[in-house]
């Protein structure tokens, strides 16, 4: 009975609360193949956009609101954002087994590809220009990382406080090379408190 109800649910309807499983009709193989596809095609980031297109727009597995809330969660939590997002989507679809299926689907292909690349690298690293080429790729990839940071600054930081928090982390962890763990554990509560205070006013 409950399954029938879920099947009829329109994607635009607000989410009906159920503890764990919302869409029992999506099969594990469908979850695996979707995330496998995302993992394989995800060159240079932008995986969340891919997932949105497939999960929300093409398959209507989740509503847009549902997806975006999960996206926010996956960014707040530690861990690889897209991995977290996969876990959230998998969990919404089929509970714990769904979350595991989604995560394994996502990292399956990249895992073997990167080891293949590592094996190739071992062969060519003696070639003089190989390191220079990879060095250039690395510096260009810094641009990839920085453009991500710029986007984040534009969307999430308002006022001096968050910028000061951000700069203090760049200074301590990046430039002074202090150990990350104590710095993050020390600064995070301050930052959350600051966000809490500015909201109260």
């Amino acid at each position: 009975m409950e399954q029938k109800q879920h099947e009829k649910r329109q994607p635009t309807e607000p989410v009906q609360q159920s503890a764990d499983v919302d869409f029992p009709t999506v099969s594990f193989s469908a979850i695996f193949s979707l995330f496998f596809q995302v993992g394989l095609l995800s060159f240079g980031g932008g995986l969340a956009a891919w997932m949105y297109r497939l999960v929300v727009e093409r398959h209507h597995w989740l509503t847009a609101t549902d997806f975006l809330s999960g996206l926010a969660l996956s960014q707040v939590m530690p861990g690889v954002n897209v991995a977290n997002l996969s876990i959230y989507i998998g969990q919404r679809l089929r509970g714990l087994p769904g979350a595991i299926t989604a995560l394994i689907g996502l990292i399956f292909a990249p895992f073997f590809i990167i080891i293949g690349l590592a094996a190739i690298y071992e062969q060519i690293k003696a070639v003089p220009w190989a390191h220079n080429f990879l060095c250039g790729v690395a510096t260009a990839a810094v641009g990839l990382v920085m453009s991500m940071a710029l986007k984040s600054i534009r969307h999430t930081m308002h006022g001096i406080g968050p910028l000061a928090i951000m700069s203090s982390i760049v200074l301590t962890v990046g430039i002074l090379r202090w150990p990350m763990v104590p710095v993050v554990l020390g600064i995070t509560p301050v930052s959350v408190l600051l966000a809490w205070k500015t909201r109260q006013r």
Binding site: M77, S147, V170, T188
Partner: protein
């Protein structure tokens, strides 16, 4: 014995990084560099830069860098430990929180947490970018490529893979000219 210890050490290095990678995998580049090169001498600074480049050019999350390091240190078992160490702890945490997430959606606490963690994550990401630039020892040419790539990716919709390829080729040419 030695080998078991090595795998265990790998695991112990990756687990805390997994739980502290606010803002995504890019935020642990600096401490990962420090641990793998300076503390444990698993790889040289050169190799770290090379592996970072490979992990960015390959499909999948950039944190596959950890799998590369694991592979280099202890082949397949190391690669597996790398994947488990970096994905499992944060995933368990995320799974637990995902179940409670909707309950707190829209509350003031939720909003404060979200806004409070954002600058921490962004700071770590920039710190990671900084440490890669320093580790690459690429001098002004490296800075120029990084700046150009940032500009091109932030304001124009270039394909990232194309930018990486041009960066690599450009640097080989620059090194050739400047030498």
């Amino acid at each position: 014995m030695m080998r078991g210890n090595l795998l265990w050490t790998l695991f112990l290095v990756f687990v805390p990084l997994s739980l502290l990678s606010f803002g995504g995998g890019a935020s642990i580049i600096a401490p990962l560099d420090h641990q793998a090169v300076a503390v444990h001498h698993w790889i040289t600074q050169h190799e770290f830069v090379d592996m970072f480049a490979i992990s960015r050019a390959a499909p999948g999350p950039g944190s596959m860098l950890v799998v590369l390091i694991g592979w280099r240190v202890a082949q397949w078992p190391g690669a597996l430990i790398g994947a488990v160490g970096i994905f499992l702890p944060s995933s368990l945490l995320c799974y637990g929180v995902a179940r409670m997430w909707n309950h707190y959606r829209g509350t003031a606490f939720h909003a404060a947490l979200e806004r409070g963690l954002a600058p921490v994550g962004t700071g770590l990401i920039i710190a990671g970018a900084w440490s890669i630039l320093r580790a690459s020892e690429s001098g002004y040419s490296g800075w120029a490529i990084a700046l150009l790539a940032t500009a091109v990716l932030a304001w124009r919709n270039f394909h990232p893979l194309l930018v990486l390829f041009i960066g690599g080729t450009g640097y080989v040419v620059l090194v050739g000219i400047l030498r």
